[in-house]
């Protein structure tokens, strides 16, 4: 008790001689979450400013004799003439491992009702991305657990891979699957006690989404045991445009902390179309000049400075990484719209999801022709390369041939064989939502495909056949799967073991 009294006495002693210097001004106008302020001569760009009642704003427009600021949170109590103070600090959010398993708002404050977050560090929301010298090329894989992606459009740690498609094509599902897969890998890796194992922590940033959608995503992550390795940043549709604008940068700050501390992190921005729309709203209210589709001129920079923060840094800088999976929603599959083309040009590849494929029941509805990974193949493990090297080409040829085959029934044997194989690959890549597949199981199934074990199985039974083979490998050949995972390549020994195992399965599969 005496220490508390001493503490208060100390505070009073400090206060008795202290003169507090602040830079203040008066509010001119407040409306739509934006305040115009007369004065604030010493305010910095992006500085936090304090309104009455502890409300925080960010100074975004520094004009000759006025400051335009966005108000974060409730602005109904603000009025003309209110005193505004500079805080002298740029906007920063709490970071650290204490944030894992929590749901926070755009300012890093908990919104999940689980109490205060125990963390001591904070990190600036806006930060210049790592430079050339600090970086290293992508050379470690990041498994999504989705066969079609891991085999054909591989993603590496530190890569920015765009997920793009119309509404309801499974964009979020791919991102959530990837987060679940990281949690599954983390559990296995941490349990193995391998000192070289590097877990991947995930950050899911929900921008402008319905609260019910965020709740559903949270439910899935919790059910699959992935929430403990994940931080959710939520700026739902009901939040102000300022909060929606800030949320991705908050997520980037959370992820960058892991990277700066030599760890790996994955960040999902769901989605940047809504982020751009929120920024447009804010810019129009701030009376910034508008350009194409009424977006402000710096909408490219809005996303480029965000996505450039995802990187793989070299050993001298901790060897950490931040992988980004931004999501963009297109309208009627139009990839050439303003925001999609911007983000396509910034990222290191894209996974394009097609409505037609989705409606045909091909899920995930990945369009092989339009999807690409520009840097990920360097990070793909050798085992996957060995078994899936030609699959993308075969599948692309199949799609092309299938279109022509509709016009005639008289096909030569070679074309028919290509069509048969393509149809089987399509079936093989079908995968239910929230059910990522471990890479060693993917290798096993693709090895069987490559070695024609599925050729005599009816196309309609392909999904059950691949499920059955995976179940067989998991339940009966665990040692083989462990060997594939550890060696990460198929040598002669593994090849013969795989042959024995798949032969055994084939005999049992009716």
């Amino acid at each position: 008790m005496s220490s508390v009294i001493e503490q208060i006495e100390q505070q009073i002693a400090n206060l008795q001689t202290k003169t507090v210097a602040t830079n203040t001004a008066k509010t001119l106008t407040v409306g739509d979450g934006v305040a115009k302020i007369d004065g604030l001569s010493e305010v910095m760009y992006n500085e936090m400013i304090e309104f009455p009642g502890g409300t925080i704003g960010i100074a975004l427009n520094l004009e000759e004799d006025e400051v335009g600021a966005v108000v974060l949170g409730e602005s109904n109590h603000l009025k003309e003439g209110d005193e505004v103070k500079c805080t002298g600090t740029l906007l920063s959010v709490p970071v650290g491992k204490g944030m894992l398993g929590r749901v926070v708002d755009a300012l890093g404050r908990p919104v999940d009702g689980k109490g205060a977050i125990e963390t001591t560090e904070s990190y600036p929301v806006e930060k210049i991305a790592p430079g050339i010298i600090e970086r290293k090329s992508v050379d470690q894989p990041l498994m999504t657990g989705i066969q079609a992606i891991d085999s054909m459009i591989p993603i590496g740690r530190g890569q920015r891979e765009l997920i793009i498609g119309d509404r309801g094509t499974g964009k979020t599902t791919i991102a959530i699957d990837t987060i679940i897969n990281q949690a599954n890998i983390n559990k296995v890796g941490l349990a193995s006690g391998d000192p070289d194992f590097r877990p991947v922590y995930s950050i899911y940033v929900a921008v402008g989404q319905k609260n019910s959608n965020v709740a559903r995503t949270l439910g899935v992550l919790e059910e699959k045991g992935a929430l403990e390795y994940t931080i959710v940043v939520s700026a739902p549709a009901a939040d102000s445009a300022a909060n929606q604008y800030l949320a991705p940068y908050t997520g980037a700050a959370l992820g960058e902390w892991f990277m700066a501390n030599g760890q790996d992190a994955l960040i999902v921005y769901d989605d940047l179309s809504k982020h751009a729309a929120a920024y447009r709203q804010m810019s129009l209210i701030l009376k910034r000049p508008s350009g194409r589709e009424a977006y402000p001129g710096d909408v490219f920079y809005l996303h480029s400075r965000l996505l450039e923060r995802s990187a793989r840094v070299n050993e001298d800088n901790g060897n950490g990484s931040l992988t980004a999976l931004p999501i963009i929603e297109t309208l009627a599959g139009d990839l050439s719209a303003y925001i999609p083309t911007n983000v396509i040009s910034i990222t290191d590849g894209q996974i394009f999801l097609e409505t037609d494929l989705f409606n045909q029941g091909i899920r995930p509805a990945v369009s092989v022709g339009l999807s690409v990974s520009r840097v990920g193949s360097a990070a793909q493990i050798k085992a996957t390369k060995q078994v899936a090297g030609k699959i993308k080409l075969e599948l692309a040829q199949f799609r092309e041939l299938a279109a022509f085959a509709q016009f005639g029934s008289d096909l030569d044997a070679k074309t028919r064989a290509q069509l048969d194989r393509g149809a089987r690959i399509v079936e093989l890549f079908k995968q239910p939502a929230f059910n990522p597949i471990a890479i060693e199981q993917q290798v096993g199934v693709l090895w069987a495909m490559q070695n024609n074990y599925f050729d005599d199985i009816d196309v309609s039974k392909m999904v059950s056949a691949s499920d059955s083979l995976r179940d067989f490998l998991v339940s009966r050949k665990e040692a083989l799967l462990t060997s594939i995972r550890e060696k990460a390549k198929i040598d002669d020994d593994l090849s013969s073991q795989l042959k024995t195992a798949v032969d055994e399965w084939k005999n049992s599969f009716a």
């Binding site: 208060i8 505070q11 009073i12 206060l15 507090v20 602040t22 830079n23 203040t24 001004a25 001569s41």
Partner: protein
């Protein structure tokens, strides 16, 4: 929008004419006002309002509003004015205001800058740090 810019620009020109060195000259302001009255510009009232705003801001830069509670000696006021004049590199005049809500101490406002050494603000920050 364009009109606003023109008015602001004209008001700034009027302010430049009203300055003597870095300070607003009462004589020059009087001259400007007379000239405007004799030759009223378009948007006369709006121009005058914009001019008033600029002059008020300029005057505020050279004025220290000293709010106090309790005793305040003239030596102390002179000391404050001297220190502020040195800090801002211009002549600062003082305006004294008694403000019992400060409980004790001083609060000096020069344009946007507030120097608060009052008990009221100390108690407020103590309250904030304890909550």
């Amino acid at each position: 929008m364009k009109q606003d810019k023109q008015i602001k620009k004209f008001a700034k020109q009027l302010l430049q004419v009203s300055l003597e060195g870095r300070e607003v000259s009462a004589e020059r302001v009087d001259g400007v006002l007379k000239s405007l009255a004799n030759n009223p510009p378009r948007h006369h009232i709006a121009t005058l309002k914009a001019y008033l705003k600029l002059v008020a801001r300029e005057v505020a830069k050279g004025t220290a509003v000293i709010s106090y509670a309790g005793e305040l000696s003239s030596d102390m006021v002179a000391g404050i004015v001297n220190q502020l004049s040195a800090k801002y590199g211009r002549a600062i005049t003082s305006v004294l205001r008694e403000d019992p809500s400060l409980i004790a101490g001083l609060r000096v406002v020069v344009d946007c800058d507030v120097y608060d050494a009052s008990i009221a603000s100390s108690l407020a920050s103590l309250e904030a740090s304890l909550s």
